[in-house]
């Protein structure tokens, strides 16, 4: 049985001023699967995932053409409320970026400003989100402490919990482990593999072993183009494209 399509792009182009950063990218991200994007620096992979919840809107002088569909619906249509879109498509960034608030308030923040829960309900969602992010046991006795008191790996899981609290459908990870140590990385990778049961995950990573470990599908990009997209197993054992082969075997020069 083929998995359901969650996000699909067609002939997606993206411009920073006159620079064409994405060139006619066609990708299908399957629901409840982890899709990894790999490629050399500047290949457009971060730009690509940022188009999926319109994070690029805030950069002046940029322009998107082509189609991005979330459950078949064009996300760039004027009818789409971008705040609603970002509730459905959450994001976790390269460096942990908790708010200068308590651990509890970080996770509760999205619930409060969106008026998604009240009182004891908030307590439940915060606990569940922290559990889902595999952080609860480490912080349950210190929820009032400032989030900056946590280690880098814990802060990153807190940011994941914060993203989970508003029940997104898709979570975008932009190099989530590049600023944390191997043990914390292993925890987050483990978490990503669990999260896909409930969410659709798209991850940008510089670490090919990480893509190989956590993802079901892998896209290899270069100079704004999608070079190859296939099952992760196929990409890392027998890629079809010479450029993919050269990149993943470290022959790039």
């Amino acid at each position: 049985m083929d998995p359901k399509v969650k996000i699909e792009t067609k002939n997606l182009d993206f411009f920073y001023g006159k620079t064409r950063a994405l060139k006619s990218v066609n990708i299908v991200c399957a629901e409840h699967m982890v899709t990894a994007l790999i490629g050399p620096s500047g290949c457009g992979k971060s730009t690509f995932i940022r188009t999926l919840n319109r994070m690029n809107d805030v950069i002046p002088g940029t322009c998107v053409t082509g189609d991005i569909r979330l459950d078949g619906e064009d996300i760039n249509s004027p009818r789409v409320d971008v705040v609603e879109l970002r509730k459905r498509v959450g994001m976790v960034f390269q460096k942990p970026n908790p708010f200068p608030k308590s651990i509890f308030d970080n996770v509760a923040y999205g619930l409060r400003i969106n008026d998604l829960a009240k009182g004891a309900e908030i307590d439940d969602v915060v606990e569940n989100s922290l559990r889902e992010a595999a952080l609860w046991d480490e912080v349950k006795d210190r929820l009032d402490e400032n989030a900056f008191a946590l280690s880098g790996g814990q802060q990153q899981r807190l940011c994941i919990a914060r993203a989970l609290a508003i029940r997104p459908e898709v979570i975008l990870f932009d190099e989530p482990c590049s600023a944390i140590d191997p043990i914390a990385t292993a925890k987050i990778e483990d978490l990503i593999m669990k999260l896909k049961q409930r969410y659709t995950v798209i991850i940008v990573t510089h670490n090919m072993q990480q893509a190989a470990r956590v993802s079901d599908f892998t896209a290899f990009m270069m100079l704004g183009e999608l070079i190859e997209f296939d099952k992760t197993e196929k990409i890392f054992t027998n890629p079809a494209n010479r450029l993919t082969e050269d990149y993943i075997t470290g022959r790039f020069g």
Partner: protein, 229 residues
């Protein structure tokens, strides 16, 4: 771009080739000791067994090291896993050459049963398969590797022919049984050598193209899928 890793892969390649050369020599010497009825050739086979075994272990350890430390991908990964398997195939071929040499020593002690015709033909075919499977490995030649796999049937049918012929000798003259069994064993060993060459051919196809052809796996999977539906 030349990588340091390429040097390590090259050194693994060289170890496999050194092993292959010793194995090819062993098979040729074993066959020769049988044909020429000369014990010295058999002794040469025994001398090569130790070095082949040593290289087998070396190749295994080297492959393990590269897998653990370099986390190879794509064609590198396929080369290393195939290298491990090819090493084992070569080692088994080396053992079979020793087995032939042992039979040959026994047969030297008694007068020949008949002039050898089919066994040398089998030997030539098997040796040709070994040689070409290794050439396919060296030149990463998928076509040649496939061709080697196809030749296996020929060796199998010659082996059956040898077996049937020797059976008639044994039925006519019970005194020939001992020698006939020796030749039947030689036939069997040569047939096994050809099987190992076929396996190397299959490994080479996987290494070059990433395709698995052994056990006619595509067919088996299709049938299994059809049954499941």
């Amino acid at each position: 771009m030349e990588r340091h890793f390429d040097e390590e892969l090259q050194s693994l390649n060289e170890k496999l080739l050194r092993m292959a050369r010793l194995v090819e020599e062993s098979i040729a010497l074993a066959v020769r000791s049988l044909k020429d009825r000369n014990e010295l050739y058999a002794q040469e086979v025994f001398k090569r067994e130790g070095p082949i075994n040593l290289l087998d272990v070396d190749v295994d350890e080297e492959c393990m090291r590269l897998l653990a430390l370099r986390q190879p991908m794509a064609s590198d990964l396929r080369f290393i896993t195939s290298g491990m398997k090819i090493g084992s195939e070569l080692e088994r071929m080396g053992d079979l050459a020793v087995n032939i040499a042992e039979v040959s020593l026994d047969l030297l002690k008694v007068p020949p049963i008949k002039p050898l015709i089919d066994i040398p033909r089998m030997a030539a075919l098997a040796q040709g398969m070994v040689k070409d499977s290794l050439n396919a490995f060296v030149s990463r030649d998928e076509k040649l590797a496939r061709e080697v796999c196809l030749r296996d049937d020929e060796v199998d049918s010659l082996n059956n022919q040898v077996f049937r012929e020797l059976l008639t000798y044994m039925m006519n003259d019970p005194a020939s049984i001992n020698r006939a069994v020796g030749f039947i064993l030689v036939g069997r060993h040569l047939e096994r050598i050809a099987d190992h060459a076929t396996n190397i051919g299959e490994d080479v196809i996987f290494m070059v193209a990433g395709k698995t052809i052994k056990h006619h796996i595509e067919e088996i999977r299709r049938e299994a899928a059809a049954k499941a539906d």
